[in-house]
């Protein structure tokens, strides 16, 4: 799947390479993930939990397994976002070490929230971000987190349709039927 996509990118995007980021094809060391390193995954899990947090309605992105959705897609459909994720995570960690002396995922939730707000508004120290648009990176994280949290479980997130249950949406989809009890 990704091979075809790459060959299309090579032939099709000649001249526009700066617009669509090329897949990195980086060789990763041992990790529990398909794309992320364990350290990167810890950071993304914390970011996603900020975007859809656990609250009185129920679990958040962590419990829903949003990280599995993003990790899986980054070696498939979203392979063109690989570099953006690597650079974004790295720039965020540099910013956190600079401002708080700790990595993002080890900071308390309120500090994480403030950092996310700053990132969304483009206010984290520019020296750590280079050409990367931190606001754009955060918007991408929002979209991917929402897809993982509200999309069908078969893509890795929304474990046991937990977001559908929170919204009171039946599954399957014919009005008047509720088949949740048949799900594991």
């Amino acid at each position: 799947m990704s091979l075809n996509r790459r060959s299309f990118l090579k032939t099709g995007v000649a001249g526009f390479g700066s617009i669509m980021l090329m897949p990195s094809c980086v060789t990763r060391t041992s990790s529990s993930w398909q794309f992320f390193t364990d350290e990167e995954a810890a950071c993304v899990i914390a970011l996603c939990e900020q975007i859809v947090p656990e609250d009185e309605h129920g679990g958040g992105a962590t419990e829903a397994g949003v990280i599995h959705y993003i990790d899986r897609q980054l070696v498939a459909v979203f392979d063109y976002d690989q570099v953006l994720y690597q650079q974004g995570i790295s720039s965020l960690q540099s910013s956190c070490l600079d401002l708080h002396g700790k990595r993002f995922e080890t900071l308390d939730k309120d500090t994480q929230y403030t950092l996310c707000t700053s990132m969304e508004e483009g206010n984290l120290p520019g020296k750590h971000w280079g050409d990367l648009d931190q606001g754009r990176f955060f918007q991408l994280l929002i979209r991917h987190t929402m897809q993982g949290f509200y999309g069908p479980p078969r893509h890795g997130g929304n474990k046991n349709y937990m977001s559908y249950r929170m919204m009171g949406l039946d599954f399957p989809l014919v009005v008047g039927r509720n088949h949740y009890e048949h799900l594991s």
Partner: protein
């Protein structure tokens, strides 16, 4: 082995092409219907929001394959972006047998008489290519009727005081309103407006051997699990095949329409399912590949006689790209106004389609299709935070408490909104791809502001505790309702086809899709495209003597 010569090639098995294939086949012509996708399969594409016609973030359920079909989007500053169905900005239309008629919301609107005479009903709009159609509503009326009965429509125009005249009612009774439809429609009536059930290409009762609709929550964007939604894939195309005269050749990418030294079309070059180059010759070629792909195919069909592509002697192929600027308003209620009875859209009103001071055209308003969970995460009042507790509170509290009233503004065509081909970007088969450029006419946004304010007024009357407008009409047009790129007209210097869809100067080459539309109405266009398919076919079958047109 060479393909056997046939009477007619139809390129594209969608709303227009499916109808043409059937009409020619039942009149005894041998037909090959080409489709770049395959047959739709409900089981292969269950209700997966992320792979649907509503959200293509992980791919398009009904094609095209994002790895094989790139396009180019040319921005206002002149820069180019390669786009695919998953990146957005693609002007996506389904690529399968039936095309958009497999997964559509299935609204079955007839355009109004004024929609065919926009220029003479109003006046010329500066900076536009606004014109009247060379045919009238009265010309097309019998063909609308044929589409309604052969493909299957549920509705009752007698409840719509603005409905155009008709000779025969729709074949099935209208659908009932869902909860939001009932509440908002009643508000519309209190304001003196005229709501009525939307005519639908879905079965309100069993029809044509297929069952009635089951009110599936996810209807629009998806195939129907019980086959109660009517498209060309489950009506006219099977009829065409049953005649024994029509072969449907799927997974074939058509590259070029061939022509000879006398300037007549001789057939097509295409790539088959194994990517092997093939030739199919025919007496007639009918192109119905959608407004973007039809334009691309004509532009890519160059010869010594037609160095700018077929039908393009005066540079009109690909021009006047239109779609629909969707516009309206969102209302939040303090009770559950959405009952999720599918497809969601249930009432419409045509009070704002024509004859309003300062507005050229207008658009119908309808309550919107059911919200989908991921897409709903993008629906928020202006300024609201889209993540964190605020996001989740809103999502859980309001997914059943929202009503949206919106509609398609009739766009005013302009010459610079267009499809070209970009030889520097090629698809999987090496064929230059569609490049889209230009933008909507500025008046569209003004019309959108006006229609959105009307929608907001109705939602407030229905008891909304909070409302906001969603105003469309900026940027490049196109999209699923794409139209206008091979417009019909009487003057070969300012149009591509004549009033019968016949390309000017090439008597055996026709267009039969939304490309023909001079303007695109303030309505979903599919029934008009089907009617045009019947209209074009009727001309061909009446004038065809077996090998050529009667002189």
């Amino acid at each position: 082995m060479a393909n056997s010569h046939v009477n007619a090639i139809v390129v594209g098995a969608g709303a227009g092409g499916g109808v043409v294939a059937k009409e020619l086949a039942v009149h005894g012509l041998s037909v090959v219907l080409f489709e770049r996708g395959g047959w739709p399969d409900y089981d292969a594409h269950i209700n997966d929001e992320l792979i649907s016609q509503r959200t293509q973030v992980l791919g398009s359920a009904f094609g095209p394959d994002h790895r094989k079909h790139p396009r180019v989007s040319i921005q206002q500053d002149g820069s180019k972006r390669v786009v695919t169905p998953i990146t957005g900005g693609y002007g996506h239309n389904a690529a399968c047998v039936g095309s958009g008629t497999v997964s559509y919301g299935a609204m079955a609107w007839r355009f109004m008489p004024e929609d065919f005479k926009l220029k003479s009903t109003y006046s010329f709009v500066e900076g536009s290519t606004l014109d009247d159609w060379p045919i009238s509503y009265e010309d097309l009326e019998p063909y609308y009727e044929k589409a309604e009965w052969e493909i299957g429509v549920s509705g009752d125009d007698s409840q719509n005081p603005f409905a155009p005249p008709r000779n025969k009612p729709q074949p099935m009774p209208p659908f009932e309103y869902n909860r939001a439809g009932r509440i908002v429609a009643e508000a519309g009536s209190r304001l003196g407006l005229h709501p009525f059930p939307i005519p639908m290409l879905r079965n309100s009762v069993p029809y044509n051997g297929r069952p009635a609709c089951i009110r599936n929550r996810t209807c629009v964007g998806f195939a129907c699990p019980v086959d109660g939604k009517n498209g060309t894939h489950n009506t006219v195309i099977p009829t065409a095949m049953a005649t024994g005269n029509c072969e449907v050749r799927t997974h074939c990418q058509v590259a070029e329409v061939m022509s000879d030294t006398s300037g007549r079309a001789t057939g097509i070059k295409y790539f088959d399912g194994e990517d092997k180059g093939q030739i199919q010759t025919a007496d007639l070629v009918i192109v119905a590949a959608s407004a973007t792909e039809t334009a691309r195919l004509l532009l890519n069909s160059k010869s010594d006689l037609f160095p700018q592509g077929l039908g393009n002697n005066y540079d009109w192929v690909g021009r006047n790209l239109q779609g629909h600027a969707y516009t309206g308003a969102v209302g939040l209620y303090d009770f559950e106004i959405t009952d999720f009875a599918g497809p969601g859209a249930s009432f419409g009103m045509c009070d704002f389609n024509h004859h309003h001071e300062g507005i050229v055209g207008g658009g119908m308003l309808a309550n919107e299709f059911n919200p989908l969970p991921y897409l709903f995460s993008g629906v928020r009042p202006p300024g609201a935070r889209r993540w964190g507790r605020e996001h989740k509170d809103f999502q859980i509290k309001n997914i059943k408490r929202m009503a949206v009233l919106q509609g398609p503004i009739q766009e005013i065509p302009n010459f610079e909104a267009r499809v070209t081909v970009d030889p520097s970007v090629r698809d999987h088969w090496g064929i230059p791809v569609v490049a889209m450029s230009g933008s909507r006419h500025p008046i569209d946004h003004e019309h959108c502001k006006w229609l959105s304010s009307k929608a907001e007024m109705v939602l407030k009357e229905a008891g909304a505790i909070q409302t906001w407008q969603r105003v469309g009409g900026r940027g490049l047009s196109g999209g699923q309702h794409q139209a206008g790129t091979a417009r019909m007209g009487n003057d070969p210097q300012t149009s591509v086809c004549n009033r019968y869809g016949q390309v000017h100067g090439i008597d055996n080459l026709f267009v039969a899709d939304g490309s023909l539309c001079v303007t695109n109405g303030g309505f979903n266009p599919v029934l008009t495209i089907m009617a045009l398919g019947y209209w074009v076919s009727d001309y061909i079958t009446r004038n065809w003597n077996g090998t050529k047109f009667k002189s």
